[in-house]
Symmetry: C2
Subunit: 110 residues, 2 copies
Amino acid sequence: MGVAKKELFTKEQNQIAAIAKALSHPARIAIVQALLKSDACVCGYLVEQTGLAQSTTSQHLKELKNAGIIKGSVEGVNVCYCIDEKNWNKYKQLFNKFFAAFENTDKQCC
Amino acid sequence: MGVAKKELFTKEQNQIAAIAKALSHPARIAIVQALLKSDACVCGYLVEQTGLAQSTTSQHLKELKNAGIIKGSVEGVNVCYCIDEKNWNKYKQLFNKFFAAFENTDKQCC
DNA sequence: ATATTTAATCGCAATATTACGATTAAATAT
DNA sequence: ATATTTAATCGTAATATTGCGATTAAATAT
């Protein structure tokens, strides 16, 4: 085993889980926040920001990219990363909606 | 290794990552959504909802509980779970803030 | 008292994640 | 042409996650 049974769940449940998974490591949160805050975006800068080895940071960047949270473009000898604006807004809505679903607080079953 | 280097990151980064981790499996999203939607909350009902074995579901419930997302209380022979309202609102704010940080879209570095 | 129901925990196997050093590939300097 | 810089990928080790069946513990029925 060790592999999640995605077929049991809805597309939306799997999507929320997949984005949450991409955000489930502090280094990846640090990377995203660095991209949100700063104008710098080259890979080397992000390696500094994480404090992890270059290869490890590169792996984290790959995961964020696969999830659609960031995108990268080659700039000469550097690679520049930034937030994928379109997906970011989509994911933002998805999570806002997920968290907003707790409202009708009239159920007192516990 | 295989163990995240939490000491490199801020408390906030670790907290966001920890909550995201708790939400990083579709079964756990399904459980939370079931608790948000329905009045039913006993463990057995949640086992049905996930479609996973009782022991597996119990494990997922434990993770959600450890993260502070849900709480459980014994009701006779049953255990009733529900959303931890106080933490939920805290986490909601935390994620809203995190996703809202993308606004000043004037940086065109990529 | 004994049986039944419910849910947590244990033990295990399969797989995934995290991390690093070493290597590779591509672009730019010298 | 050769060296240097930058970042991706490979290989590997340590650890974590996912899932299930079996067992255990606690409450309630019979």
